[in-house]
Symmetry: C2
Subunit: 232 residues, 2 copies
């Protein structure tokens, strides 16, 4: 193989990996899988895709080496294939935020409509938690909380928030977090809490970013292939 052919194959293969990333549903799936490993049905439900369709997208991701699978009884668990996959997803996210006009316009419009939405960074949150000044709630679905959550955070799935709002402490600021900066569950939660008279803010990014940066996490159920320690 001459150098030109080699180079062509290399870029061809590299573009295949990128093509696997270049679909809105698959990006949403990756963002979900950054929370942990899940069976096809759960992924389909969360992304509002028909199961067969979700399965096909997952297989595209698998063929490119971006996710790996593990059978657990009837269920096929999908998870990110490695740290680099999450890193790349973060890079793409940031790229979109900074370089693309449509995306920054979308975000600005959204943020302006709810201009009272206070956000705090992971580092700030980490600092505040050590001083016990705040009450941190995880508003993702319970399945995701069980797979792993910020240490000392309590699960208040966004759906159940209104039923359980009376359990929240009224003397502390509430910080809600969800999957990541593209996930709106924490925004909805904060909007609701503020309406109800709480002092509330959202974590700027989300669980995946928190865990990837090596901050303290915990999990309730030991999941499949019990991951004893978390990624650093």
């Amino acid at each position: 193989m001459d150098t030109r052919t080699f180079k062509k194959s290399l870029y061809q293969e590299l573009s295949q990996v990128t093509k696997a990333l270049s679909n809105p549903h698959r990006l949403e799936i990756l963002d979900l899988l950054a929370q942990g490993s899940f069976p096809v049905a759960y992924i389909a439900e969360q992304t509002k895709l028909p199961v067969a369709n979700a399965s096909q997208h997952l297989q595209v991701l698998k063929k490119s080496g971006l996710v790996k699978t593990q059978r657990e009884g009837k269920y096929m668990y999908y998870e990110l294939a490695g740290q680099h996959v999450f890193d790349t997803w973060c890079a793409l996210r940031k790229l979109g935020f900074t370089q693309n006009e449509e995306i920054s316009k979308l975000l600005n419009d959204y943020r302006n409509r709810r201009n009272s939405l206070k956000t705090i960074s992971s580092d700030e949150l980490n600092e505040m938690m050590s001083r016990q000044e705040i009450y941190v709630i995880d508003v993702r679905p319970e399945e995701e909380y069980e797979k792993g959550h910020i240490e000392d955070a309590v699960s208040y799935p966004q759906q159940e928030l209104s039923e359980r709002i009376k359990d929240l402490p009224e003397d502390r600021e509430i910080v809600a977090y969800c999957r990541g900066p593209l996930c709106l569950m924490a925004d909805e939660a904060v909007k609701y809490l503020q309406k109800e008279g709480f002092e509330a803010a959202r974590l700027e990014d989300g669980y995946a970013d928190w865990a990837a940066s090596g901050k303290a996490v915990a999990n309730t159920k030991e999941t499949n292939e019990q991951k004893s320690t978390n990624k650093a």
Copy 2:
């Protein structure tokens, strides 16, 4: 706009940016633009694309905000739109190297055929240069050397290497570098130099990575919009 519609638009737009990246020619163009800004004709020549085709690919990149343009007389100079674009390209490169079987196989095959190819990292090179133990040559086309090169490196375009080999010092190790880890010009140069009896190695990555990490660079001609300092 409800949250579901918003989310859908966001992922839609994000996937558009990713689609712009998911073509082998466009990736090769980005790798080239990481060296500096160039007119369409040069980009077309280096990537061996018909000019009209290169132009269309460049416009896809531009529409997604990945590159920007600047007219200079007859020429339209294209350049990366910002640091995040290069960061993302690096993340994708690394992702391909680590997660995709075809790519790792391709690279291993290539490396094995030339098993005597010694590589050194940017940090090692930086260290060695300060002690003047080595002679660093830039084997990219002269146009790219002029836009910016590793400080104290001398231009020996790969094409002209055989004519000018007698100018090289025989008492020092030669280190050749080119555009980046996917560029084969340095490999070819090292192979040739070793055959001719020199002690030679290639820089593991390339100029773009060196410059992005803030190491010392220089440029000969003041190019369009003379960039006084380089990206840190």
